[in-house]
Symmetry: D2
Subunit: 369 residues, 4 copies
């Protein structure tokens, strides 16, 4: 098959190029760029020299040449290409936020500043978090071309950490806090002050505190999972931070616990964790493991290990560690923001849509450095 | 005066050397080291060459030569020197945890693995967080030599962020979450795998989740401040992270809010912050500002700025920004872990004990890089 | 085939594990460690979890189980295993310096502090820089098991930059300067002060100036290539630096030029490069390109690009850019020190020895970050 | 006195602000900016909050308010302000390249693309490298207002490493190689791709190889020092590199040696350094030390230490280490590019011009991190 990428000159697009280049089912790539149309990909990314080369063409040419298309344009810029894909009868994996909110245009508009250009496209769209929606993606893809709204980076790490707490009835009610740190590639390739080396290296900075666009997306996922298991919908607070590293998102998630476990809170700050805490923690770990038993890209870490971004580098894994403290369940998730948080998950979605092995092209063993 | 430093070869000790070298009231330094006694400080720290030089002597020699001593030894290693100081009639600023818990030996023992060597020293000791205890330090120092238990790095950033929420009756009850990220210098100078460049650069890692020794110290401070204002004592959860930077601690603190403000929680994840949120936020910012009105080293940041470690680098400042989201008050504090989190605060304590201007020797304008 | 790794717990060993895991001809791995025998590889490297697992066994067990063995032990520690391999009739790719100097034991002893344990092993050994010795490796492997002395990281980048200048008669005589910067992984996994994050991040430091053990290895390669083309043997000066990055070696090499081109030197510092300089530079670039025409892992960069470590990350490429200034040819080479500088080149040698496609298992597209 | 800064919003300007804030003779600052006129300095640099504040005014207002002015504008943008200063009768320390070439307009034009706007200003200008020109600066300042052309960052580190080799007749003729690595702040505050975190962190990259504008400035300095001691003028080759750190320039300089020492070249790559090499090295170190005996900011390091940027951080020091290898003298110099390489040297020049203690305001002890 020929895979097309619209927006191949951005970081997520280039990561897609890299991943798809090694994908056994992909025989060729068609690369498009709006801003760099006419240039060659190996000039835009000289790291590709002698491996990947070719001109950046128009989105229309990409669609014409491809059997499936990835959209890696900014939110709000690509609905017409989605329509063209459907018209041609091919599927689109879209990395923008445009298809992440299904028919809830109101929420999308509130956070992204304008409504849908072509609302009816949502009849054929599905939110592409496989751990939430795998069956739905498959079913829709079985009956025709589909638009997959590929999840945001923060929502992926946050949602995967919260789901089992809802499903396994650990969550007791009360606010869930998501505190995340992202590598700088999350900001894309366009130079700006926040990502200028002297301004961001050797510093950790929160930004858009309580007001980041990924909050409603996390909320959407969590609400949906709560509904599935008939659980209360948790209020959410989300704080993203910029950390001086290239890749990775670490999310530390605080979930109030039920009953006996929750009752431990009074003790927390006074004495070190007791044997009892450890036992509860092991039980919860087991519940998390069983929830994700069949997931190819989720690793619930054994006791003694804490999730960290350095151990999922360049891979599609989401590492999860669970900890219990003061009646609060602390779940830590780590992903590579460019892989499971963007391009890798998009390839995973392609694999699901096309009926390929879900891990095809995503076999990279995490590099420690 | 002659200032002595026991443990001058460690990072906190060396930072003390640097700060005291520029202190107008300090005419000379006496430097001691247990492990490197006999070596010269400028060989241990060649960055000091031509500015600061001299042999590292024994702790006993330091005490004999000094008018005030700083202890920068590991916890549990220095009580006998504290006693010697008192016997000689000079004060000690101790950077270990040994004098941070006053007469609560039980808590100290539970977390540090052994009890006090000389319990009665606590009659002359005081916890040295000036923003909490300034008057007490002064009073005690007025009547004789004193041992100041210099605060831990995380407890400094965390406590300063929580205090006004208690004092100003913003805190509504429920668990307060402290999520912190520290630069690698926090781990000291002894090489170990966690601080080996390839293992920690380009990664963010939580550690000792819910079980870090600084938790009971934060708890102590918060309980004490709650008592002062007759507020409920908040249960605390604390997660430290290691971030790939040299200096700095960023703490993002989640505090459940009272009444009308707290009632906003249901809305949080659904719509972007409203004008109302901004108004509440401004009121809270004003309360924080007024609480710290007379503090020389606390900067409550104006609307639009978020605290980040890169802006307090090399200074004794604690930057604080306040944010409101989903009925939760999010307070972000940033300190330089080696200055306000260690050596700088120790100098501040010396200034208080000796009756100097509290900012003497701590005038460094933060370096952006 | 089963590939064995002795020394799998070190950085080079672990990188071998990662690369061989994806190698189509390798059906299984046997992992050995002297210091961590009995532990499991996925506990030593938790980034491997769910991808690669198994116990670390003794070197003897590795040899018994394998069809080819990689040695990743410190220099001087593995000759007996080399002998065991030969006795069993299997080849060894050795990453230490023990087989890099052929029968020149004197040079080895002068720099490594002791002589060969089993000198006669050198009858079956060959220096494994494919761009220098491919045919010899093939010939030897054709007639029985062979020991390949896998090159050092610095010598790889340096030698590849110098070879064409000798072969193409560009070098005019006089000292060749090799100025190199390495990422911190080059120092291995054992924590020590030089690689402690606060000591090496945000700093560039030369070390072992003019006295690094890789100097005689570069010298050996260069002398050999000079002999092949009957050119004068250049005196060499080599300065390694430590740079605050994980991977990569950049070598900036200064080569005095012949004749007309060399005569430009007087002008160099006075006026910007002329058109004539550019023409000469293009000619030299063409000579470099033609010299490496058939090499699968060497990329001679086009005009306008300068080699940098960030563009070969995680790949087996050696990027080369050539520049002309002041009668001096400046050649810049960039490799990933852990791949082309260690484990990748070892896999390349295995491929040559076993008659596989030379690029098998080394297809990774360089990651920009 | 009131010190003025034109261009206070750039990195060099802001570093000047920081340094002058602590300068005992400076009672006030007047801050100007062309691009950010009307904004406040503490908004442009929130790290200054509560320490330094005030509006950014026009260059004309700065000149009117000041007793001495610093110019921190791009090259070619500030000659008219220089003229205004002279007319007002006050001195200017100019950090651009406009006054670094004295009356050699031809060289300036060749490298900077246009000639002098007001050539006659050079009657009152002097190149401000104190170690080269201290007496001349003093003499000129004694007879009226002066324009000091503050040196470039690379030329400072390179020239200081070469001078003693000329003066002490160590240099034997032949090309001198200067290989330098700079921190990213050297590129200024304007975001661009080369300084975008994901593009430059974890990579070392040469740039403008053999064609950097600082080459003619190094050449100028070296020629002038050669003339002073009646030595041959060395041809120069200069390669700058970008390294992933904030501050610092490391220069590794290769100087061909005379006579007996130079004759060692043949041996270099064959055997480790001999006792004889060490003796010669010690003699050369002594010559370097004696040359800089009275310099307040130069530290010639003792045997066993190698200059590194991490040890001069935030200080005005230039560290120098000397090494001997293969008949080549290798001199390594390290400066903080923002201090001795820019703002610190400018303050040093102000001190000389005004007759203050030369080290006033520059007492910072280097921070190890």
């Amino acid at each position: 098959m020929i895979a097309g990428i619209i927006g191949a000159a951005g970081y997520a697009g280039a990561e897609l190029v890299r991943l798809l280049h090694g994908h056994k089912k992909v025989s060729g790539l068609s690369l498009g760029s709006v801003s760099k149309e006419g240039e060659r990909i190996e000039n835009v990314y000289p790291n590709f020299l002698s491996k990947i080369s070719g001109p950046l063409v128009t989105p229309e040419e990409v669609i014409a040449a491809s059997d499936l298309v990835f959209g890696a344009l900014p939110s709000g810029a690509g609905e017409q290409y989605a329509q063209s894909c459907l018209e041609k009868g091919i599927s689109l994996i879209d990395l923008s936020a445009d298809f992440r909110f299904d028919d809830d245009e109101e929420t999308y508009e509130a956070w992204y500043g304008k409504g849908y250009a072509i609302p009816e496209l949502r009849k054929n769209s599905v939110y592409g978090l496989p751990e939430l929606n795998r069956e739905r993606i498959k079913t829709m893809a079985a009956s025709g071309p589909v638009i997959v709204g590929n999840p945001g980076c923060y929502p992926t790490g946050a949602s995967l950490g919260i789901f089992p707490a809802l499903a396994k009835e650990l969550y007791a009610g009360g606010t869930i806090i998501v505190d995340s740190a992202s590598g700088i590639t999350g900001g894309g390739r366009a130079p700006q002050k926040s990502f200028h080396f002297p301004e961001c290296s050797d510093s950790v900075s929160p930004y858009k505190v309580g007001a980041h666009r990924h909050l409603p997306e996390i909320n959407r996922n969590v609400r949906q999972m709560a509904a599935r298991f008939k659980r209360p919908v948790p209020p959410l607070v989300f704080t993203p931070h910029l950390a001086p590293m290239n890749r990775g998102i670490l999310s530390t998630i605080y979930i109030p616990l039920h009953g006996e476990r929750g009752a431990l809170s009074g003790e927390a700050a006074i004495r070190p964790p007791s044997k009892e805490t450890e036992t509860h923690e092991a039980e919860i770990r087991e519940l998390y493991s069983s929830f994700y038993r069949d997931e190819p890209f989720i690793r619930v870490l054994p006791q003694g290990l804490t999730a960290s971004t350095g151990r999922v580098r360049q891979s599609n894994f989401c590492d999860i560690s669970v900890h219990l403290a003061g009646g609060t369940l602390i779940v830590v998730t780590a992903i590579d923001n460019m892989v499971k948080g963007a391009a890798g998950q998009a390839v995973q979605n392609m694999n699901i849509v096309m009926g390929y092995d879900e891990a095809e092209g995503l076999e990279t063993v995490p590099a420690l450095f």
